[in-house]
């Protein structure tokens, strides 16, 4: 992996992101497109807000009866000729998948886009164990060539400009004519299409994620815009689905409700180009489909989240709307967060997956502007959950000692109004003296974080409360 950034070094990652001109221009485009698209999608669907409420209700109901629906799902998958594997953690899931590949004598694995496979670092593991692994989603394919990780949940290569992708293709597809045109995105998609077609046909095993699991039928739902998800689950002899346990919904109707908000929130489309429902293995008389169908049901910390104050995060449908809308993500991109998931959802999930001691910097990296919660189709209170992580980080004394001391001193004074007022009078006269006639300060004591980028406005002089008391006393005397 090309130098993976860590969550704890967020500040350093920021500097790196800000000095990357290509990244900055890609992020500007993402933010602009997102801002223009959103009112159009929501405006064209008057029932959008009601659909959000319905989706939240479906998820909350499912989470309250998760054991029931998961068992119902397992029964129906098994009846449809599939095999369900319950895996507690990443290592268990990796071993199970490797064993299935070995049992079928597989050499080549084709993959559909799956964030949960990123979460368990599946590709590296399978490659280390002698398998050839090929990503078939265009964005993921580009990243695999570049040895990078996804920077966005639904637009994994959004951090790249098309010129960078053209260079990557020239560097890797060396058997093709070096003078071929690769200026237009269509040139590149056509080239990738030809390269990937060989891989689809050669793959022994197809691995995909699932956007949803339907309990009443044992079906999986996969949405893509490229159709790669369909090819890779029907052409290879074996199909392995890896999905976290919170992906289950009770009925087909429920899945349809969620689908109506998923693409709209993710990419601004009304629906993705391909929406595929698949159930079990190939039956007699079926024209295509896998001979073997395996479903990896992954916990990886979900059960623990279900019990506690972070439960709402299990409602996430991985649309990436919070990332696209977040101004902090927009300034630094997804890789700076260091974890598998960047942006607000990453700031909440990464501490749960990697431990708060390894990621306390992420929930701090928010101005609490609330854009994420405003666009989240599942109404996940992301700022509140980030604040909960800050509570824990503070309790465990993970954040910087200097910050803690400054805050403790301020709180000590703030709890003593009379003393606070006396201190304020002194501080104000000092600041006013420093501000002089200019009206603002370029530097001020203890305010380096502020004055690195901004002048500090000088106070008008005297506190409002003091002046009010004085003016009202004067009025009463009159």
């Amino acid at each position: 992996m090309a130098d993976q950034q860590t969550s704890l070094e967020f500040s350093r990652n920021v500097a790196r992101a800000q000095s990357d001109a290509d990244l900055q221009s890609a992020l500007e485009k993402l933010q602009r497109d997102t801002r223009l698209a959103r009112p159009v999608i929501t405006g064209r669907l008057p029932e959008f807000e009601a659909l959000r409420d319905r989706a939240v209700a479906i998820k909350n109901h499912t989470l309250a009866h998760l054991d029931h629906y998961l068992e119902q799902f397992e029964t129906n998958v098994t009846e449809a000729g599939g095999h369900v594997h319950w895996c507690n953690d990443a290592a268990g899931a990796r071993d199970t998948i490797l064993q299935i590949c070995r049992d079928t004598g597989a050499k080549t694995v084709g993959k559909g886009k799956s964030m949960v496979s990123e979460e368990i670092h599946l590709n590296d593991f399978l490659i280390e164990n002698g398998l050839e692994v090929v990503e078939t989603d265009l964005g993921e394919y580009i990243l695999q060539l570049r040895e990078e990780t996804p920077s966005h949940v639904v637009m994994p290569a959004i951090h790249l400009k098309k010129e960078q992708i053209a260079t990557t293709f020239r560097d890797h597809h060396t058997e093709l004519d070096p003078s071929r045109p690769l200026d237009a995105p269509s040139d590149m998609t056509e080239e990738a299409r030809i390269k990937l077609r060989e891989k689809f046909l050669a793959a022994d095993v197809g691995i995909t994620g699932a956007n949803m699991l339907i309990a009443e039928t044992g079906s999986i739902v996969v949405v893509t815009n490229e159709g790669n998800g369909d090819l890779i689950q029907t052409l290879p002899r074996v199909h392995i689905v890896i999905a976290a346990i919170e992906k289950v919904v009770p009925r087909i109707d429920d899945a349809l409700s969620v689908l109506r908000i998923l693409a709209r929130s993710a990419t601004g489309q009304e629906i993705t180009c391909y929406t595929t429902f698949a159930t079990g293995s190939k039956r007699e008389g079926d024209l295509d489909g896998p001979e073997e169908f395996h479903l990896i049901l992954l916990d990886n910390g979900r059960t623990k989240l279900l019990e506690g104050e972070f439960r709402d995060v299990l409602c996430c449908i991985r649309c990436g709307a919070c990332q696209s809308a977040c101004p902090v993500y927009g300034a630094v991109g997804g890789h700076a967060y260091g974890g598998v998931y960047g942006g607000p959802i990453g700031a909440v999930l990464t501490p749960a997956l990697d431990g708060i001691e390894n990621a306390w910097t992420l929930p701090e990296a928010s101005s609490f502007c609330g854009s994420c919660e405003a666009v989240c189709p599942m109404r996940i209170p992301l700022p509140r959950l980030m604040r909960r992580w800050r509570d824990i980080a503070h309790r465990e004394k993970l954040n910087k000692a200097g910050t803690r001391r400054g805050l403790a001193l301020w709180a000590w004074a703030a709890k003593r109004p009379k003393l606070y007022r006396a201190g304020a009078r002194i501080a104000l006269s000092v600041l006013r003296g420093l501000g002089g006639r200019r009206g603002s300060l370029r530097r001020a004591p203890l305010a380096g974080g502020w004055t690195a980028f901004r002048d500090l406005p000088a106070p008008e002089g005297g506190t409002f409360v003091d002046q009010w008391q004085k003016s009202r006393r004067t009025q009463v005397r009159k």
């Binding site: 502007c369 854009s371 009206g439």
Partner: protein
């Protein structure tokens, strides 16, 4: 005390710590608007800060202590009004959460939440008041501060009142609802990210060609004014209450005296 009748609505003015320390004129503008809207205004001397710096840093114990102190300071008012969506949002949405397990203060926190309003929303939505008597010859643009917008739904109210200001022309930002990067302690914890955000906001302000940027939160305004000043721009920043109250004749935030 005030000119309001004896049975007038009693409003406790929560100035917020930034207005108290940095810009008393916003406090006086607030009082003036509230009195014009027929309220009897008082400013309890025991008020300090809403407690957000502690609350957002994960220090719930200190945040709760400050919240209890604020609740005590504002006993006996019909309403609590703040010239800030952020601080009003803290009282309205976060005090009940913060004190939910407090046997004595849980109820009081809910009562305070119910009667706390952001200034402009209070004038328009509660008082149904639009008796603006102010003149401001010039073009302004308006930044929607995040908490007011997304926690309290303050969006149209300031624009409706600004329409009544004689001579004022409002030119909208391209992205009025995008965060300016202040975020309380966020701006000093991650100054580079905050700096990039306020630069975007500043660019947006400049492209409107307006001479003044208005907003309803002093934190955002100090951030924006500080960046404008650092970039050597002459665009001024003011709290919307100053313009609406007709007392925006003193120096702007960061402005030359």
């Amino acid at each position: 005390m005030s000119n309001a009748p004896d049975d007038a609505t009693r409003v406790g003015l929560f100035a917020t710590c930034l207005v108290d320390l940095y810009r008393p004129s916003v406090g006086f503008a607030t009082a003036r608007l509230l009195e014009a809207a027929g309220c009897d205004v008082d400013v309890p001397a025991a008020q300090v800060c809403c407690g957000q710096p502690a609350y957002n840093a994960g220090d719930r114990a200190n945040a709760a202590a400050i919240a209890r102190q604020t609740i005590d300071a504002f006993k006996g008012f019909d309403y609590i009004v703040a010239p800030s969506g952020s601080c009003a949002g803290m009282l309205r949405h976060h005090y009940p959460d913060l004190l939910a397990d407090d046997a004595v203060y849980a109820n009081r926190a809910r009562a305070v939440a119910d009667k706390t309003w952001e200034l402009i929303a209070f004038l328009v939505d509660v008082r149904g008041w639009a008796g603006i008597d102010a003149r401001w010859p010039g073009t302004v643009t308006y930044h929607d501060a995040c908490s007011g917008l997304r926690e309290l739904g303050v969006k149209d109210q300031p624009r409706r009142l600004l329409e009544h200001v004689d001579g004022l022309e409002l030119r909208e930002l391209d992205a009025p609802d995008v965060c300016c990067g202040f975020g309380g302690t966020f701006c000093v914890k991650y100054p580079e990210v905050s700096g990039a955000m306020v630069d975007n906001k500043t660019d947006d302000i400049l492209q409107t060609g307006a001479g003044t940027v208005l907003a309803g939160d002093l934190g955002c305004l100090m951030n924006i004014a500080g960046r404008l000043s650092r970039r050597g721009e002459t665009v001024e920043a003011r709290h919307v209450a100053e313009v609406l109250a007709g007392i925006a004749d003193g120096p702007a935030i960061s402005g030359v005296r």
